[in-house]
């Protein structure tokens, strides 16, 4: 296995916490310094999407579109047509939530490599409630031909994702989280669009997770190892294109799968994995995610508990399947 240079102890009480949107902001500023074709636009959420770092450094390459997400996407298409590499940011509930058709027609079908950055996705949006806790964005973007869908696991990975997106010739969607979450990776951890990574090797069951839920999966694996259950954990930061080889290789060994995502179980990572395995290697699959419900106001921890998305829930499910 390739050396992944993850943090030594995921159970450490002093594990570093940082919101992955911070990694995005840093990454965009860094790549902006190197590549002057990088431009950015935002729909009145510059600071919360962390695109303000770029906007302040390169005001002549930043466009404030106001609260107008349809315009954000189509403007991005136009910028791209002239050779720019536009990163367009808003909250994921609005972009790609509101402007899906513009993304489909003027970006994907029109083959313009616009980089769509959806911040404040999922339950970690917390107190804002169901309207803002979008749980359907991966499904929306995954259904589109031409689009690559990236869901980083932590801020360090998000930073690397920005650089990879700038060099990718497809339209991309980057899903970000509002609240600080544990940082599992280091600057040396590899990241490539389209690659999944085996974060923990095991033989009894494969846990396939994406985004900030990979931390929960890793914690579950640590605890269950002590009980004699050996989980393999695959982190999937690119949901489309899915790294089928890495997944199938693992599942051939374990023959049991749990998927974990902070998204509806329909149409997201769980859907993608179930589709792959149904066609290529049918084995028992259990999807952990939000089960056809909307979110609600609350602290992220309360919400993860309520919707069954913690390491405890992963452990309980794994015990059932391995016994």
């Amino acid at each position: 296995m390739r050396e992944l240079h993850l943090v030594k102890d995921v159970l450490a009480k002093d594990i570093v916490l940082e919101a992955n949107r911070k990694g995005f902001g840093r990454g965009l500023l860094a790549i902006g310094k190197i590549n002057e074709n990088i431009v950015a636009a935002c729909a009145d959420l510059t600071e919360s999407t962390q695109i303000h770092l770029f906007a302040e450094a390169f005001p002549e390459r930043f466009i404030e579109v106001g609260v107008a997400e349809q315009n954000l996407a189509t403007l991005g298409s136009g910028l791209s047509a002239m050779g720019k590499i536009p990163f367009i940011s808003s909250y994921a509930a609005f972009s790609p939530g509101r402007n899906w058709e513009q993304i489909r027609t003027t970006i994907c079908l029109n083959d313009r490599p616009v980089k769509i950055v959806g911040a404040h996705a999922g339950l970690y949006t917390g107190a804002d409630g169901a309207t803002h806790q979008v749980l359907e964005d991966i499904a929306l973007m995954r259904a589109l031909p031409n689009m690559a869908v990236i869901v980083p696991g932590d801020s360090v990975e998000a930073e690397k994702a920005v650089a990879a997106m700038a060099n990718d010739h497809r339209p991309n969607y980057l899903r970000l989280t509002r609240e600080p979450t544990p940082v599992l990776t280091t600057s040396k951890t590899p990241f490539e669009i389209g690659k999944a990574y085996v974060y923990a090797e095991g033989k009894d069951l494969t846990v396939i997770s994406t985004g900030v839920m990979t931390y929960q999966a890793m914690v579950a694996a640590e605890h269950l190892f002590k009980e004699g259950i050996d989980l393999e954990v695959i982190h999937v930061p690119t949901i489309k294109p899915l790294d089928s080889l890495t997944i199938l290789h693992s599942v051939h060994k374990t023959k049991k799968v749990i998927t974990v995502e902070e998204h509806q179980i329909n149409g997201g990572l769980g859907g993608a994995v179930a589709e792959l395995l149904a066609e290529e290697f049918p084995v028992p699959v259990k999807r952990i995610g939000v089960r056809d419900k909307f979110g609600q106001s609350g602290k992220p921890d309360e919400l993860l508990e309520h919707y069954g998305l913690t390491s405890k829930h992963i452990m309980a499910q794994a015990r059932k399947m391995v016994k």
Partner: protein, 285 residues
């Protein structure tokens, strides 16, 4: 492109383009007749006089850009592109057929000369704004982005989001052309969703507004020249056109918005176009 055609020659070219539109639509058996015919003079003026373009080098980086926002009128653009030499005229009758580069609604990646993919309405103006902003960043002047919009299309919120933004950034190298033919699928624009006072609406959004007879070749050319000379703000040309222009039984009738002529109707229409409404005798008669 050499701009040697006189107004009379341009008008003749527009008639030839209308003939192509009728043939294409008849062959396809579906498509949008009224808007395509109404825009024939504007598209002739654009491709044969106004635009800096090289039909043999459609990606030439000094070209002006023409975006068709109301993509359903693309038969007029296909016909104009073919007559201008972008691709063989013989290909026009493949419109809407399986395997054709001439998709029912325009797809940029399929056919050289198209600058975007459109059909879903309201998306052209903001792409034009993005292009103009990119040109400004690159300090490119003397290139213009023309964007043709339908009037029914102005019901779309995306248009007004883009209008606000172009006004804010004073994108003077964006030139909007509104095909003001007063019809949309469900009927007259003013009963479906009133647009008036259209002139004042655009002015309120920070645009300079011109109004012309959109079926008058000289007025189209003059308005675009004036628009290019206005550098303080973006310019929109409200081009009053006659839907179905050139074919008597189609003119002004919203039922021809989304309909193609059958064999008999096409014959009648072609005869009318070839005889300049009966003024001359057709060689085909």
């Amino acid at each position: 492109m050499t701009k040697s055609l006189s107004i009379a020659e341009l008008e003749q070219k527009a008639t030839e383009i209308r003939e192509s539109i009728i043939r294409m639509l008849e062959h396809a058996g579906s498509g949008h007749s009224a808007g395509s015919l109404g825009l024939a003079d504007i598209f002739t003026a654009l491709y044969f006089d106004i635009l800096k373009c090289e039909p043999k080098k459609p990606d030439w980086d000094g070209r002006d850009i023409l975006l068709l926002s109301n993509g359903h009128t693309v038969p007029v653009q296909y016909a104009a592109l073919a007559h201008a030499g972008y691709f063989p005229k013989g290909e026009l009758i493949t419109l809407r057929r399986f395997g054709s580069r001439l998709q029912g609604h325009p797809e940029r990646t399929k056919l050289p000369g198209l600058e975007t993919t459109s059909g879903p309405l309201g998306c052209g103006l903001s792409q034009a704004a993005g292009m103009a902003l990119a040109m400004r960043m690159d300090k490119i002047t003397h290139r213009w982005v023309y964007v043709v919009m339908g009037d029914g299309e102005l019901d779309e919120g995306n248009i007004w989001e883009a209008a606000m933004l172009a006004g804010k950034y004073k994108l003077s190298n964006v030139i909007g052309i509104i095909d003001r033919n007063n019809i949309q699928i469900d009927g007259p624009t003013e009963s479906v969703m009133p647009l008036e006072n259209l002139h004042e609406k655009w002015e309120a959004f920070g645009w300079h507004v011109l109004e012309i007879d959109g079926n008058n070749m000289q007025e189209i050319i003059d308005a675009c020249a004036l628009a290019r000379s206005i550098i303080e703000k973006p310019v929109v040309i409200i081009a009053h056109t006659i839907p179905g222009k050139g074919v008597d039984f189609m003119e002004y009738d919203f039922h021809w918005h989304g309909k193609a002529p059958n064999k008999e109707e096409a014959k009648k229409a072609l005869n009318e176009l070839r005889t300049l409404k009966g003024k001359i005798r057709s060689e085909h008669e």
